[in-house]
């Protein structure tokens, strides 16, 4: 099977973000898992190479032997993608990115999120644009969570973001791609990778995102809140490959009417 797959799949079909090449197009988060062991197993099953982490205050007085996320997600093996989850202003997001850069020894790749509403976790786009400008000017490589507005996505690219990451549905909703036309418009106009961020609920949702031509998918809840997160991580790995290959293979046309795949002639009657 491995031989077959390598013979079929183009080894040059890689995801390139900020000049780095990734064989996997599935990016994963690290929240909501039972423990760090499960986090690590899910990341492995997902085959992810880019892993997003949050930046939070150290819990003073905690057990100093408590395991650390970056022990499980080793920055030497994975591309760590610090995010600004929880930031509701451009200032907070910029500050979080700078803390992350210090934390990760000058690592410049960040996932910018500026939220507009604690209930929907929908992005605040004007603040996101402002933060993106500041961060790009400050030398960051910005992957940016955004709404699915094609004009906004183009603007974020113009600002210099290295990837645009539109939401497919509300974060953590699991509702799947709501507006395929918008995602398609963003993909068609983009010169940087487009990754669906948020809203995927199950494997077919991830496949749909890739079939639309997205360059990758980032997810967390769909894996972590499955009954069996590690098996779902594997499902998502296959789904992203499936969707990517289907996109590259070029699907059959949709037809209103049937088309026999067996010839309707030369029947023995």
């Amino acid at each position: 099977m491995a031989e077959t797959a390598s013979a079929i799949a183009d080894p040059d079909d890689v995801l390139i973000v900020a000049g780095r090449r990734y064989g996997s197009r599935l990016l994963v988060g690290t929240g909501k898992y039972r423990d760090l062991t499960q986090t690590g197993e899910a990341i492995a099953a997902a085959g992810a190479e880019i892993v997003t982490v949050a930046i939070r205050r150290t819990n003073i007085g905690q057990d100093p032997d408590e395991p650390n996320l970056l022990d499980v997600v080793d920055p030497a093996r994975f591309t760590i993608l610090p995010n600004t989850a929880g930031c509701f202003t451009a200032e907070d997001a910029v500050r979080t990115c700078r803390l992350a850069r210090e934390l990760l020894d000058g690592h410049n790749l960040v996932k910018l999120e500026v939220l507009g509403d604690p209930k929907t976790l929908y992005p605040d786009m004007p603040a996101t644009l402002a933060a993106a400008e500041t961060l790009v000017a400050d030398g960051f490589e910005v992957m940016v969570y955004c709404n699915d507005d094609p004009i906004a996505a183009r603007r974020l690219e113009e600002i210099g973001c290295v990837a645009v990451m539109p939401l497919a549905a509300p974060i953590g909703s699991g509702l799947g791609i709501q507006n395929k036309y918008n995602i398609l418009s963003i993909v068609e106009n983009a010169g940087v990778p487009v990754l669906v961020d948020a809203g995927v609920g199950t494997a077919s949702d991830a496949a749909v995102a890739m079939e639309l031509g997205c360059d990758g998918v980032l997810m967390n809840t769909a894996i972590a809140e499955a009954k069996n997160p590690v098996l779902m991580a594997s499902a998502m790995r296959h789904a992203v490959i499936a969707g990517r290959q289907a996109y590259l293979a070029g699907r059959m046309p949709r037809r209103r009417h049937a088309s026999a795949s067996s010839p309707l002639t030369d029947l023995p009657f």
């Binding site: 803390l99 969570y145 948020a198």
Partner: protein
């Protein structure tokens, strides 16, 4: 000396630098980033960065988190 540490005021005696504060907290060797009075302090400057009464210090690290 009172320090506003991660949003809470705490008293530290005999601590004069950021590096000493980190040691006092038992956080030596952990992967952290530190803000002192709103300014990020690179790792290499923790020893030389002196604390004063009323200073604000934020110590952060990476935790699990995903899409926004």
């Amino acid at each position: 000396m009172n320090i506003r540490l991660n949003g809470e005021t705490r008293q530290f005696d005999g601590v004069q630098t950021l590096a000493e504060l980190v040691a006092e907290l038992g956080l030596d060797g952990r992967r952290l980033a530190i803000e002192h009075n709103g300014e990020i302090v690179p790792r290499g400057e923790r020893e030389s960065r002196r604390l004063a009464d009323g200073d604000r210090v934020e110590i952060v690290h990476a935790i699990g988190g995903g899409t926004p």
